[in-house]
Symmetry: C2
């Protein structure tokens, strides 16, 4: 083992949880009290450069430990690998981890195990981009079409996208790239904001935040719906009054409905001109989304944050289920699978408006959308990234919003790195915050027992 | 807390692994070396009867610890519950666990977290049937249609199956039940066997086991395919020669192919008259299965052992993707979700031929098929349960095969209980077998180092 052939020496994991439920940040019709959390990992190497790869799965609290356990099972397949080889071809580890025959039984390619693979794969890309000295969006946009096409696993999607088609899309995507990069650097990538729309917020807070969003330059906001129709009508009326007729209002049901319910409820809100209905039903229901889309047109149908893999996205596109594809940076098998999803979307001509928010999802996904603009779709039309103003302060390279746009990151890497002091404070259950909080809860319980 | 209102006092978990990879039992095109394992749990109560509820998720080795961790996260929601209430309405805990908003993020309703819920729900049914003094098939077949219909979660399937339709199917299912029960008790439920067909077996072993299967009364065998076409042709020719033209031979690709490959490969094997092609592609690919089915007809298409939940089964039926539905007792959310799947299959007129094998899957799933025969489909036509002759000796109430049929279990419960001596011996990594095995491996490694 020499300095010229550095190895991965450690995959360290962390269970990090933020007590967001106490402010009802992130509350929606299915998730009343999320504690935004990250099952987090750091890849360490024996290279002289001291660079690390950071990655994580976003969860909303309970079960973050299961997610950490899943990442731990991958350690043996990562530690000892050549850093140079890994960074030259992150697709190799993506294929190896997805192909592990015993772990595959736990999915395949879905849920806890698949998200764990995504976290590791994303950490490899973070390391690769740092070693290259580029933000990930730029590394991807600078890459050769053939190399990018080889990063994709075509298993189970070849009936919709072949390697040859991927290369052709990526070659076409290069035309005019320099001009687009100028636009991106000058203006950033458009965003919409969900910050006003959480279900737990009062009408007053909703109205105030909606006005602030418009003042901050956003041209689209999003409201959570689906718990109570009368409430939704009142809140949408207030929001529409606050932002006026020209700002788009998307609505998001977080999988609350059956097919018929989705159609009836969405139709009942049509007078407020919702731009899209997001997650009207189960993310698994490809045919259900197609039926809903037909019946609520011209209101658009959007989904993706819980779509488990490229195979389901392929079918959502084949079945005509979607107007807007909302990929997530940390739900599927990492950058490699998201490359497949971006190319599928381009092939079918469906705009990608990624899911973000949570912990660090904005930080990650901006790189994918910027790459899409520069080298795949080549378009910003009807494309925006979700923005939620939570927890960015915990990252070393947090997103920068300017006039309703994500400014292009300039630091090398995937913007995935959390501050070490935040990690120490919010590690569950032993970090400073949780240790104090759990002790206080225990004391209170003892007090109640003493009284009783 | 009194004896008349007993509570669940513990949910104990066990990581149990059998070293099956050493004999290539269970080897197929995607799973070359499985160590059949169970993430196992026992519900204990303070009732005087001393009865326990047993349940498990089947895995194939690595990652069994992740599955155990997932079951552990459910403990807090189970311990302390009233045993009487739980057993009177297992649907209540099924809904609560699936509805946990924070854990739901890890699925929803798929993969590690969903299988963990299934294991707990199945343990509740085991306990309920033991307390009732009936084998589970009988408890289900004796239940009122309305009560059974209330055990089902209609969320996301109501466009294909309403509660009213479920009640109607179950009422119709009662006609002629007594006569069918006589048939079941006298003859058992038909089975087919996969024992001859593992990919790691020699042609000689395949031929010998295929002949033995026919001699034992089986009218269908199954062969694994998909690793090498020339091998498959040779093995199918040998199998067809061994069993003659009248015994059905199903083939199983274990998700090996893309859509076009599946069609080409299956067509290349058509001369040997395969009865069905099983898992030709990803279990997530509803539209892919539909395309394959159209193109390989009259060869039937079967899938289900990896289908994640009722929502995907609903679509496989809606899209006409299946000739044979292969539910699994321990992949989805337990008995409650399998009730939904049995009723969906009945509604669409598709026969159910469950997946079994592994650890204890034969023991569990026989109850569901027998219930289906007595009270849902009312038919044995083209219906059989998979049988694999592995690991039954570890169960206290193992399946009994007679002339190619599963004999109806008579012991109360779900036949889910593993012998305590087997659990002790094969607990990973501290049980007797693994402690010795891991020590030997460590010694051998030290020996190699000393030589080097």
């Amino acid at each position: 083992m020499t300095a010229s052939d550095p190895r991965i020496t450690a995959l360290d994991t962390y269970d990090i949880r933020f007590p967001t439920s106490r402010e009802l940040d992130g509350s929606d019709a299915m998730n009343p009290d999320p504690d935004y959390s990250a099952a987090y990992l750091v890849l360490r190497t024996d290279a002289q450069d001291g660079l690390e790869g950071h990655g994580f799965t976003f969860t909303i609290g309970r079960g973050n430990d299961v997610q950490v356990a899943a990442i731990n099972t991958l350690r043996a397949q990562v530690v000892g690998r050549s850093v140079t080889e890994l960074c030259a071809d992150p697709g190799s580890i993506s294929r190896d981890l997805i192909g592990d025959s015993q772990l595959r039984w736990l999915g395949p390619e879905k849920g806890v195990m698949h998200m764990a693979i995504g976290a590791v794969v994303n950490a490899v890309w973070d390391l690769a981009a740092k070693r290259e000295g580029k933000p990930l969006w730029q590394l991807l946009a600078d890459a050769e079409p053939e190399w990018l096409a080889d990063q994709i696993d075509y298993r189970y999607i070849e009936d919709a996208l072949t390697r040859e088609e991927a290369v052709a899309i990526l070659r076409r995507g290069r035309a005019g790239r320099a001009a687009r990069e100028q636009v991106l650097l000058a203006r950033g990538y458009p965003a919409y904001t969900t910050s006003p729309g959480w279900l737990g917020y009062s009408d007053e807070k909703l109205t105030r935040l909606a006005r602030e969003a418009v003042a901050d330059g956003y041209t689209q906001i999003k409201l959570k719906v689906g718990a109570d129709l009368d409430d939704d009508i009142r809140r949408l009326r207030a929001a529409r009054a606050a932002v006026g007729p020209d700002v788009r209002i998307a609505i998001d049901a977080n999988q609350r409905w059956n097919v018929d319910e989705a159609v009836a409820w969405t139709t009942a809100l049509a007078e407020f001109d919702p731009y899209w209905i997001e997650e009207p039903t189960s993310p698994d229901d490809i045919l259900g989304h197609a039926a809903i889309r037909t019946r609520v047109a011209p209101i658009r149908v959007a989904t993706g944050e819980h779509v488990q893999n490229r195979i389901v996205f392929k079918q959502l596109l084949q079945a005509g289920s979607l107007d807007v594809l909302q990929l997530d940076s940390a739900r599927v098998g990492g950058v490699n699978e998201n490359l497949a999803i971006l190319l599928l979307a381009a092939k079918f001509g469906v705009p990608v408006c990624p899911h973000a928010g949570g912990v660090g999802l904005c930080e990650l996904v901006q790189h994918l959308s910027m790459f899409d603009y520069l080298a795949v779709s080549g378009s910003l039309e009807n494309r925006m990234i979700e923005f939620v103003d939570h927890l960015h302060e915990h990252f070393t390279d947090p997103v920068v919003m300017r006039d309703g746009h994500y400014a292009a990151p300039t630091a090398p890497g995937f913007s995935a790195q959390m501050k070490s002091e935040s990690m120490a404070r919010f590690t569950y259950p032993d970090g400073e915050f949780w240790a104090a909080d759990l002790a206080a809860t225990a004391d209170a319980a003892e007090g109640r027992e003493a009284v009783a």
